[in-house]
Assembly symmetry: C2
Homo-oligomer: 297 residues x 2
């Protein structure tokens, strides 16, 4: 039997056929093509499921489950409570897809799916208490405890980007001041760096300057890892997980980011002397994490 | 069968015989009498167990388990890794008490025990995902997910008082700047209030002034609940638990604190529109929470 994982985004819908060993057998993606109604989005997903299955030479009766990772908070019934971008308002996505496909479907939050994928098949393989932190446009999170996703009472748990770390600091679009994502997202890094380097277009440019030993760029990245360490240390003091995995574009810098991050966390964490400590690693699956995680919801 | 719960503190050791219904049948306490060696502390606990059992007319063979709540991080083997005050360094407290009592013993962190007690028999009865926040000298925490205490990889999870909320703010003795407990503990409230009212001796004095409509005291408490709301909202955004329970001396103020706290959290939380939200309540068991929780470790 095979599983299918879907990563539903505002730009693209990606699908993967996933084998019993959590290896991806085939992948396919289509533009989301917004604006669309929720019914049209469900139609696109259903068509993509059939198409990717056929690409993998897998029959529909060989598919045990279809898992969908979507933006927004998803409740236990697979209803997406709210997502402005996709136009979901209490949208019963699970039911809509089960009707179209005649298969068991599950729906979860996309950041949670990415965390689950890394924990099952990526850098967190073998761990049971695992937090994924994704540094991108914002800061996303997924928390796995005892091998299970923490979804919370309303499906919206894991919003670690909206943990205030500097209450006199930068306003966040969530309405609060000083949220972690205002400092630790790739966007935040670029915003700071643009003051010194108006021509940069993305976080990679800042790192390229730093790799060329530009002192201002090195300083900016030093500050950035300090902020990052503050949020990560908060999570360690609260959860003491086995592992925290850092994903997103910034994490592609690997040890260039992780080494200073670990050194700063070591100085900050409450359990400086504990014999067992949280391990900090880079995510390894990239975009596949969300697909593998969705398939395993 | 009965359970025995122990609350080991720097000043007193308290013990309770707890019935199958989680009601306390008898209580007793003795001064800890520091300085003492870990062996002498274990002797005192063992003597207190026998004494409180006899007070309740319970024979030793009617006791199914003895649970001990202690300061410090406790690992899965019941070893207390470190507590400066009690002089514990990798102290195998569980083993030391099993030898002395010939009974099954369990050891857990005291703040975690208090959380477990409230969840089992106090304001959190019936919940499975529950966070207790204790506002006292510091800010303690206990996190229960799926009905189980979150202890983390090294027994030290739940240090929510050491979540930085204001990284340009007040230094904390943990070495970081702007920890939640520097703003939300009773100590923090008193420190701020002393600038306006040098004669006050405790948090209750600030509340007494506020109840007498002293405007400055009301302002100070308004600021205090704002800080408190920041930390509590962080926890909600991360966990979305069914309930957060506020304990400690400050919580004795009940709705006077909880009403503004709830109003502020409502404006701050990320899930402003979710149909299900975290409930915020006051702890109901006081010091009994730690005893009942320890008995149920």
């Amino acid at each position: 039997m095979y599983k299918i994982g879907i990563d539903l985004g505002g730009t693209n819908i990606a699908a993967a056929v996933v084998g019993f060993d959590n290896k991806i057998v085939a992948k396919e993606s289509v533009p989301t093509g917004l604006p669309k109604t929720p019914d049209e989005i469900a139609d696109s997903i259903a068509a993509l499921v059939r198409s990717v299955a056929s690409k993998a030479f897998v029959r529909m009766d060989e598919i045990s489950v279809v898992g969908i990772g979507t933006p927004g908070a998803v409740n236990a019934e697979g209803v997406v409570e709210n997502d402005a971008n996709l136009g979901f308002v209490n949208t019963p996505l699970r039911e809509m897809l089960e009707e179209r496909l005649g298969l068991v479907c599950r729906v979860g939050n996309d950041a949670n799916c990415a965390a689950l994928g890394e924990q099952i098949a990526g850098c967190g393989k073998g761990t049971r208490n695992f937090i994924a932190v994704t540094l991108g446009t914002g800061v996303g999170g997924g928390i796995i405890l005892g091998g299970k996703l923490l979804t919370g009472v309303n499906g919206a748990a894991g919003e670690i980007g909206h943990m205030v770390i500097d209450r006199e600091g930068i306003p966040c679009k969530c309405g609060r001041i000083g949220c972690f994502e205002q400092y630790a997202s790739a966007t935040a890094l670029v915003n700071v760096a643009k003051e010194a380097f108006p021509d940069i277009t993305g976080a990679k440019d800042v790192f390229d300057l730093a790799h060329a030993d530009n002192l201002r760029a090195l300083e900016i990245i030093d500050d950035y890892t300090e902020y990052l360490a503050d949020g990560i240390t908060n999570l360690i003091n609260i959860f003491q997980p086995e592992m925290i995995c850092i994903g997103g574009g910034v994490a592609a810098q690997g040890e260039f980011i992780l080494k200073p991050l670990r050194e700063k966390v070591e100085k900050k964490r409450y359990t400086k002397n504990a014999s067992v400590q949280t391990v900090i690693r880079a995510a390894t699956l990239g975009n596949d994490a969300g697909l593998i995680g969705a398939a395993n919801l």
